[in-house]
Amino acid sequence: MDCGEYRKLISRKVDGEATAEETDLLVEHLVECQSCRRFESSIFLVNGLHESIPYEEPPSSLISGIMSGIYSGEEATVFSGWAKLAVAAAAVFMMIVGAGIGDYLADNAAEETVRKSGDIFNVEYLAVYPPNSVGDIVLGAIEGGENEQE
């Protein structure tokens, strides 16, 4: 191992990550290598400077800000939950109403056709307007409908 490898090992050892075997190897090397000894003391110094940076107390408003943020967030969530429910209910309502109107219109159209068909195939009607073909019957139905509207 060269000094570069030993310096990586020094960094690991300072962090408590070196094994017992690695530590023994390092100690042997440090006895004879002044440069690596200086590196080790520099690492200790840098670590010491880092550790000595004092912890600051967070502002007292921090925790109250977080908790009030949670409360307001929950209100928003509850509101959005109700809003979603209302939208869903409205959508279901519209589907039901829409389906009802559709059915009503469809039923009416069917009834009208049946009624007109009934008129067409009415014996009295046929007596007055004897059809020559199915086409005449259909044409008569349309004309009859138009006449009724008038």
């Binding site: 690991r12 962090d15 520099s42 840098v46 880092h50």
Partner: protein, 193 residues
């Protein structure tokens, strides 16, 4: 409730217990705030980031799974936020990885005197160190904060940063070399007015 583990408090939080969450905030607001303070250098930004972190934590409490310890989990979120913040705000101020990291730089130049930094005024050195720390690339600075001030193991830091243990080891070693290199620069300025 005070004696409950973090994971228990998180579970209670997930079921809507706000008092449990308050306890978690009380436990972690100081280390998280200081972690951001070291990362941003700004009390206002640290307060905002800490608040954002806890609000997100509360809102995502149901997604919390006990794969890692809660401390690892919360510092993973904080690390991601800090790195993201740094990349947005400080991209141009950090060290270049191309120059100072070259083999033979850093310590060798820093410790060229009889005893490294022994002749420096401590207050000046402290200031220089903080300045050097503030210039570290984001991931290096976060790794150093996690290791030195929050005492995470390399394995835990690897989990937090999503890297291998050897990558974390390398990150921390390179960070130290950069710090020594920067302090060497400080010393040079002082010695050569």
């Amino acid at each position: 409730m005070i004696g409950l583990e973090d994971a228990d408090l998180m579970r209670r939080t997930a079921s809507g217990d706000r008092e449990s969450f308050r306890l978690l905030v009380e436990r972690y607001q100081k280390p998280i705030y200081n972690f951001f303070l070291r990362s941003t250098g700004s009390k206002e930004d640290s307060e905002d980031l800490t608040q954002d972190l806890f609000l997100n934590l509360f809102n995502s409490a149901r997604r919390y799974r006990e794969i890692a310890s809660f401390k690892t989990y919360i510092f993973r979120i904080a690390s991601n936020m800090a790195i993201s913040f740094w990349r947005k705000r400080r991209g141009k101020e950090i060290f270049s990885l191309d120059g100072d990291e070259a083999e033979g730089s850093g310590f060798d130049r820093f410790s060229s005197g009889d005893e490294p930094v022994a002749d420096l005024d401590y207050a000046e050195l402290d200031r220089a160190f903080k300045e050097a720390l503030s210039k570290l690339p984001p991931e290096m600075a976060v790794a150093m904060e996690l290791r030195v001030r929050n005492e995470f193991s390399y394995k835990e830091i690897a989990e937090i940063l999503g890297k291998s243990v050897s990558a974390v080891e390398s990150l921390i070693f390179r960070a130290r070399k950069l710090l020594l290199s920067e302090l060497r620069g400080f010393r040079g300025e002082r010695d050569d007015p």
